[in-house]
Symmetry: D3
Subunit: 338 residues, 6 copies
């Protein structure tokens, strides 16, 4: 960290060979801290927030723990050969200064913060923080890009009208977004919904808006690659925003969060979803609801850091390194396994 810069350059994460991974100031992926989005193609940004949560609090420490654990993420994607730092200028933008005592004012400052990012043509990769934070981001996105296509991975629809009488919370923010016209409704897909609810129409209301609703049960025992192919077809050419709630995962795979529901996605499916977005025009994305106090090993934060890196790897403009010719390999393992 440390050095600041005024001209665009391809920043590299600080190497584990220059500073041990357990040392140094913890920015996201050990990138430089550059608060000015105009210098960047994309930037990681923390939104420390938990006063929109209905039960377990603690997500206010999510960005910090994700950064702490992100020291293990290296700059190259072995599976997809993506090398985002070869072609994009990326840094850690720091955190939004969220009001700890007023959700309304916190939401406003998030919107203002992302307005600046969006207007600078920097693509935000946001780290939460409770899911309320996606509403002000979507407002900023819609101002810059118009109504967006929306890929929403979550255990919950977050489509309640009111929560404890309030219009804004981490369970109602997408009802508000829909009402405010922030979505291209025919290009909204919700993946992983499940569990218990209040009303028979908890999922049906969304379907009536034209959203694609993929309950978790539809994802059981299968690869999501075919689903992602459908989604890519539908969303091609549109500005796409991805919001990934870590509780979309089965609690086995992402225990450190507030509202776990059994029967969710696996990490394999999470990777299939994010990698399956490659080729779309992703204008922003987030990963939310990491609650460190329920994550004693730090692994949920470390998984989150990896998923955020995978998001970076599918942003437009990312370079992919070429694979060597298989003929250079002396291995004769059957192809299905290599």
């Amino acid at each position: 960290m440390g050095e600041t810069t005024t001209t665009k350059q391809h920043h590299q994460p600080l190497s584990g060979n220059d500073m041990p991974r357990f040392g140094g100031i913890t920015t996201m992926m050990r990138l430089p801290l550059i608060p000015d989005p105009s210098e960047l193609d994309a930037g990681f940004i923390g939104v420390p927030l938990d006063i929109g949560t209905s039960n377990r609090s603690g997500t206010r420490f999510g960005p910090r723990q994700i950064r702490n654990e992100s020291v293990m993420v290296r700059p190259y994607n072995l599976a997809t050969r993506a090398a985002p730092f070869d072609s994009l200028t990326v840094a850690d933008l720091g955190d939004v200064a969220t009001n700890p005592y007023s959700l309304e004012r916190a939401v406003d400052s998030i919107e203002a913060h992302f307005d600046r990012i969006a207007q600078a043509d920097c693509r935000p990769v946001a780290m939460g923080g409770d899911h309320t934070l996606t509403l002000p981001i979507l407002r900023a996105m819609a101002k810059r890009y118009g109504p967006v296509a929306f890929v929403h991975v979550d255990a919950h629809a977050d489509m309640n009208d009111l929560m404890f009488g309030e219009r804004i919370s981490h369970g109602s923010q997408f009802r508000r977004a829909t009402e405010e016209g922030l979505f291209d409704n025919r290009s909204v897909v919700q993946i992983g919904l499940r569990g218990s609810g209040y009303h028979a129409d908890d999922l049906d209301w969304a379907r009536k808006q034209g959203f694609w609703v993929v309950p978790a049960e539809r994802c059981w025992h299968r690869s999501l690659e075919p689903l992602m192919e459908e989604i890519r077809k539908r969303l091609a050419g549109k500005p796409v925003y991805l919001s990934f709630d870590i509780d979309s995962l089965d609690p086995a795979f992402g225990p450190g969060t507030g509202a776990v529901e059994p029967g969710g996605l696996s990490l394999i499916q999470a990777l299939e979803i994010i990698r399956g977005l490659r080729g779309l025009d992703i204008v922003g994305c987030d990963l939310v609801e990491v609650a460190p106090m329920y994550d004693t090993s730090g692994n949920t934060a470390l998984i989150a850091a990896n998923l955020l890196f995978e998001m970076l790897c599918v942003l437009p403009g990312v370079a992919y390194r070429e694979a060597p010719a298989p003929s250079t390999f002396r291995s004769d393992l059957p192809e299905e396994w290599t």
Copy 2:
């Protein structure tokens, strides 16, 4: 909680909009506490017990932690459209006052307690507590219903003859139940057995009684819906008791328990099993072996609370809400995903 009642009515869980989920006295699912089973169609009941455990103790706090985490479970089942509180009178029956120092006397008081419940035609949904507790419940069930069909989901057969020279423990209780004739032997199925044991006949003894034994290995890489179809055929029309040991799950999915064994069921399969019992005459059920001290996030207890709610959802007489006509949906997602 709070209000008591003397005439049957359909109690509803206290809503998260009336009292925040982190507030209030924690009964199971925030239902009223009604110790009298004669007022109820079904009731949750805690059996705080761990003096039948052979290794890790702590399940005595299982019922309390399940109740604490159950505040997140809402009254409607999004996947199956079950709405148990629409048609059944359900409450929290409180706990059995188990003797902390004498397993024999604890077992006797459990039997007496469940006798009262069974004789009142209230269907118990029991929360454990170590698995010894199922023996006295089965005794009460058999007195009321005759030998029962038995669905036993577990990593272990619990069919040892003696443990440390004792006839009753959480590893031998089903040998006793078999000897006492509490089972309809041709209608017993054990799912998820695995791991290491003492004798080559640990599983074979059960098979010789006519039990269906489904080792965990047979469940690998597949849906259990076909198995449940077989089971429904076999058990139809009989009084069925379900005993679900949380250690049937692979440790990834239910870490907070005492005797974990790798290679177990997933939460998806657990949901398939419980949902697959719909239509049978379930006269009682339990979920056992939640050990909070090994469950630092509380997630195992929260999962347990959800599985207990799923059990409630398949009791006889539960109402299911109708799905809206698909024509009211504007979504065109391929059907396999909706």
Copy 3:
């Protein structure tokens, strides 16, 4: 728990000989749950709140964990021979339904809730929750009793003017209370203040109001009994409110809280303070800032439950049992040790 009552009676905690301490529904000290204050002389009441916290959240679960651990507290005070349930009608009043998303509205509902209690002449013993909650309680107290004498045990003065631009938070609530005239300024004492601050006048502002400020350093290496004697003299005959922030304790003694500061009070001193209030007209009291996620053993909550019981033991009207004549003892230990 469970039974409700309409005439005053001396409720007793459920005995550990009737229900093991690890069993049963967890009300405070296993008292009956009676939401109506008009039936009670004093009542424990939970205020689940953490959206007034400036750093670590999680105190919203404070009341629940205090209740869970309070099962160990027995009804008789061995040291002081207080037997509060012999002479007072006491129960658990339940929780205030605090708005999870709006601190302003949460504060208002707390005030309304304590208005009802104060007007019913029930003395509240409140369990928090972040320290913001004392402001609305003080408002209710002042409406009923006029400006109150105030014993404030805390690491922090909580006298900031604004926090993040807001007037109400857990760091500024007593500046507001002072401005609103809720205190009898010459009868305010703050004990245990210490640590780092923003301004040289952090403690001096209070002194200028006439408050007695006792920094932690003045309490080092000594008994606080002489201090309490001074305080009893000053406060005699006035309505007194006691607010005990668990972070007044040195972190060794109360680790499960948000804003620990080294060099604080010991538990011995905490007991000296509370026991030293005996004889004053305590109209209400609270213990705040228990944060269960930082209290992995549950001990901070258990300590809090004991301190709350000690508060109950010094309320006006509590009966004290007589000591037997020393002549009945066959022991001859030097008196200083008995």
Copy 4:
């Protein structure tokens, strides 16, 4: 560990220079495992037991965790210059095979086990395990030595008549011991009693037997050396048994236990008590109620291991190394500090 021996020799703990402290099989203090007491002057012995506990379980793992953490204890006592392995033959005797399901039978096997030790003139240093275990040890001691003088350090008197209707538990064992005449009543001292209780006579009953009762309050803000001088006078020449319940400590100093009570002893006072017994004829001793699941850092077990070593250091026959002549020191620090 490993080597066994048939002739008495002065075993030494395995050095941290031969095997790193984090390596090797964990016997107590890394001594040899020698199950035969006839080879030893004194022996550490584990009593894994928690089915006598009234609330939190888990002390069954106490001996194991004490052994694990005891790897840090080195063979020489810097403060007292005791070098127990210079003059005594000491080893780890292993564990009593306690019945996990029957407290009665566990108690019987403990008694039989300690009979063998006592009859072999080996002095046991027992590691618990819940406090019930001291009753059968006292029975074995009384058979060998007659009624014993008894130093009982504890937060609780453990003098209840019945617990949940049972005569034997970790709250009633010393009522039984008194009734059975195992004590020299005029030589019993109980130190550290405090907290809440059931009856006004919880402490007075003991006083009526002639026991010296030293409530915790009498120990506040002072050294216990003068008390120990009184005790040494009273107990001189008698067979003395020491039972140290870790919950005698204030929860700050021994958090990993089941029944914490605020206002207890400090570790400094614990050391003063044990060191203050030097010169008495200690025939056996124990440290009980270490509950590892409430001891996330392992420190309570490590403290327990140190206290057990301090007990070993005051057994009769221990060698003390000479201090060098102060003249060999070049230091001129005022004597009160050296």
Copy 5:
């Protein structure tokens, strides 16, 4: 434990009916501790080491925690009917005395230690400890057996050239092994590789050596039995060494380790891999990278203990007990489920 022996005999784990599982000294699987490999066909051996780790430390306590949790593993394999203690002489060999301050000297002492084991024709089953430890074991293996076939299950290739400028670490040890000619390169298979890396050729370098590289992605959504069939064909008749890094598992299945990567193997696949090696000439094996401080429940260590037992079950010479004739079963469950 305890007894030592000079002639080969088939040791049995101490039964849970003779000593409760929570009692006794914790050797691996409660086998005798026998440091002399010449008495054994196979032996468990701990290698406490973490100074080769690049990020999270703590694996130095891996062997101890594996032993502690191994008390739950019983001597018979229910799934495969393997009964290793019927035909092999197996014990716990204790730990290597690894230098805590010098990785070079620790590596040398590990090599010397395994030289003795290999030369005694005892097959080591090693418990780690960070993965650096496999390099000195491979050196000892190659001296005894020549270049070995190598089954490497891991998230990481561990094929870096230098780490922080050093040639030996837990990320570069197999580059060294390759350079030193310890492998039969055409018989090396690496399973489970994934995540982020430094260079495009992180996996390709291995392929160029002729290694079979099976990325985790190739293992998704499928059984590994067909892969193991390929591997058995390729490796038949050769001396095989198995190295299993617990981080090969998806973090859901083995959370207690240092370098977790999402999208890994399941425990089911881990069992398929180890069981799939049956019939090969396994000359040694290890399980590494268990880090207890990240394993709050102890479950990762317990899983590790089970996998180590499964390794024992596929060593050459293990007896398998016969299954009873299905005709003796009265069960009629469809065969696919039995």
Copy 6:
């Protein structure tokens, strides 16, 4: 954080009113990160190191956790009225890039790093990390200032000759420093030594060098202010280095460390020691041995951050704000309490 600077200025910690304490990049006390010591009067610097530890590892994460928790420390010292940022230029210097695999090379790079700091006349306030790190710092100090006076607060003398045969480790570093002549021997004081050891001369060797050795026992039940007065007299005018091992504290007060010993200092005494150094010419200082994995609440790190701030407050040149005239106070509390 973020901005860098080339001219000396008085940096202020980022205020909690500008960024909530749970947000933002975590430098020490939220100061700017300025790696160049020539710009600073004093600087905090992390030394992530644990490969010098003899038992528990994990101190490599000490600096990171101290920084994380330091967000709570505010810029003004309420007790002493020190305002270090009014008069000194202070920042976070970042971490030393310590070799994770070679203690020798790590030690060398620490020395080189502190050489640069010392030569720039910047006073280092170091955060560890295991105690080995003080040796290379002392080497750098001695090069710049000559042999230093040394205040060593610790449970252990760290004066062993060899540990596991090695000359450098966290138990032998001060034997080396003595041999190398880094100390002004007549001005060395060691406070808090206690516990068990290997040899009778563990403390006597130091005394023979002329060191002042203050065993923990001498500190029991008393204020250390008189001791500090003696020390100030002895050390006046000399260059002083302070090394504070967190394990000097009793485990109650600093549980998150590796080598806890009962009977240590309280936090009150720790504050007395550090504040008692005011007026001396402190040329550098450190706080070491914070091990986050044993500090589940984070409180030990937070305490460490406070103690480091207290060290900053006694550096030469710190400004102290004036107290208002007592006449401006309307309080009449007896002076001994104000």
